[in-house]
Amino acid sequence: MTPTSRTLARGPVWPLFVAVAFAAVALTALVLIENQKLLGAALAITAAVCFCAARFGGVAATEVAASENPWLLRGLLTLASLAVIFVLRDDNFGLLMLATVLIYATICLGLTVQMGYAGLTNFAAAAFAGTGGYTAAMLGQQGGLPDALVLVCGGLVAVFIGSLLILPVLRTRGHYGALTTMAFGVMFNVFLDANDFFGGPQGLKLPGINLFGWDFTNDIHIFGLVLSSYVNYVILTGILTALAMIFVGLLDRSWVGVWFDVVRLDETAASVFGLKIAYWKVLAFTLGNFLAGLMGAVYAKMTGFIAPANFTFGDSLVMVSIVILGGIGNRWGVLPAALIVVLLPEKLQFIQEYRLIFYAVLVIAILTMRPDGLVARRVRKLHTEASA
């Protein structure tokens, strides 16, 4: 009779092992394989397996296992990541792509908080990332500041620039709100193109990351193995992504997540029950912009170069597409979506020239045929918290 006596049926754990192992193998294969025909075959197999898993309950079983064993999930993901890094240890290009995917994914986690949770439209994510990147570049020219602080400053400056937009973002809704961030995103580029102080269209060069005395341009020597210097960036971006994932996940499974959802779904009900709409919107906007700025700074440092062309309105659009593609509001969906959007055009040579049109058609197809995205967001169930 008591609520706690209704024990939840625990699912099997093995689907989690299988899923993580499969993801790791598929990822490694997609990065490693150069031969276009083989790559096509690998892609087809991956897609087919994913489709079957979704069709015959494999995805659902994995989700259950993952939510019941969060620490096992985290451990397995860490192991799998290390395995992937080990296999790809001297593939510079592959590692660079992986880090880029992780950077995009993390920025999109920020967008998930803004758009998926609090319902703020943001068509300037790339501009906020760019703000972080330029901050890193300018601070790098001055010198003196340790890189850990430089990266954080990237996030903080993005938050600051975002706070200039906060009034229009709060006062406008729907399409009117889309305009403000869109205008900002376009403006950002026009401004940088015209401004010599920030290097104009040619952009700025900046040095790589040096974190707590460890220079990221060094190769890693460990157990007699040599890991490419890019492993540094994959590890850093991987840790940042993991932290952001955990943070956003905890946020979602807390009152804050519930209030974000209510603010998005029904402002009237929210305010009648005491939620201050402006506060929650500012909070979501700030968190998202911080992540964008931080990862923008990492990106600039990693590529050693920053220019307006890297942070166009089109790039903001790509980021929004990743969020929609993954399933808006679902933080796990961001990973495969970022992978598809960032990695595929790099790997499939015949797409490279056509990448934008590829995105466009992909997003149109998703929106018409599967508007909830690849992995639709599930209803939040706080029952584990509420009935322990």
Binding site: P3, R6, F247, L250, L251, S254, W255, V256, V258, W259, D261, V262, L265, D266, T268, A269, A270, S271, V272, F273, G274, L275, K276, I277, L283, V379, R380, K381, L382, H383, E385, A386, S387, A388
Partner: protein, 262 residues
């Protein structure tokens, strides 16, 4: 009228709401006494829902004064008014359908919860304790309805039928232990039998909570007759009559207002 006696919970004086040139409420003086159930009736467009909206802060008053428990709330924002002990339901169901029943009910207890980022993200044990407490209270409240609702606490609100959604809305309004609850057409969208059932349940809950003050807006006169201690009749934003339902219903002015409408 002894309007200044200290058992008045909500008091409106000269309350006026204008939309452009239209007077939705016109110089309205209404007293709601502690512990009573006040029925607000009147023809369509007479300003009943506007009255609820203005005292809950959804609209702002053009003129006049509202005080709740002796505190002037006329210029307060909606999100502050709830902290003075006011909550409500809506005419059209305003549950967040894609959220669970639990999430929806928790909203009603929002001002008693810790909203700090640190508490929510880092102090997970404390958060879980809070969630457990709300879940228990929610189950208890849902249990009053004598249905399977407590077992559906973590189901999405969209999976519930109309009557259960209304029950959840009522729980959401009650879980924050308000002093005054506004019920806006609790019968809307339900059959006659369902309405009767919900009314009994509301009365039951009220009894168990002990003397909750309620303002109820309703078209269903049978319901008004059964639950209200007193009624105020509005027409064109003005109070045209006040008293026990039986007396009000017999009043020629009221009859004319309704018939004139029809």
């Amino acid at each position: 009228m002894t309007s200044l006696s200290n058992d008045v919970l909500l008091e409106s004086r000269g309350l006026t709401v204008r939309f452009g040139g239209l007077f939705a409420l016109n110089e309205l003086n209404i007293d709601v006494r502690n512990g009573e159930v006040l029925g607000l009736i009147g023809p369509n467009g007479s300003g009943k829902t506007t009255f609820l909206n203005v005292i809950s802060g959804v609209y702002s008053a053009s003129a006049g004064k509202i005080s709740l428990g002796g505190i002037d709330i006329t210029r307060e924002k909606a999100h502050n008014i709830s902290s003075y002990g006011l909550s409500r339901t809506f005419q059209r169901s305003r549950l967040c359908l894609s959220l669970s029943v639990f999430d929806n009910i928790a909203l009603g207890a929002q001002r008693t919860l810790n909203n700090g980022l640190w508490h929510n993200v880092v102090q997970r044990k404390a958060f879980a304790a809070e969630a457990r407490k709300i879940a228990e209270e929610a189950r208890e409240l849902l249990g009053v309805f004598n249905t399977a609702l407590p077992d559906k606490l973590f189901d999405p609100a969209i999976s519930l039928g109309m009557i259960d959604r209304r029950r959840v809305e009522i729980c959401r309004a009650l879980i924050g232990k308000p002093k005054l609850v506004l019920l806006d057409e609790p019968s809307a969208g339900m059959t006659h039998d369902e309405t009767d059932q919900v009314v009994d349940e509301i009365l039951g809950i009220r009894k168990s909570l002990g003397g909750l003050t309620i303002i109820i807006v309703e078209h269903e006169m049978g319901l008004i007759e059964r639950v209200t201690d007193r009624c105020v009749v509005l027409n064109y934003g003005k109070k045209i009559c006040e008293g026990k339902f039986r007396d009000v219903a017999a009043d020629p002015v009221v009859r004319e207002a309704y018939l004139g409408q029809a």
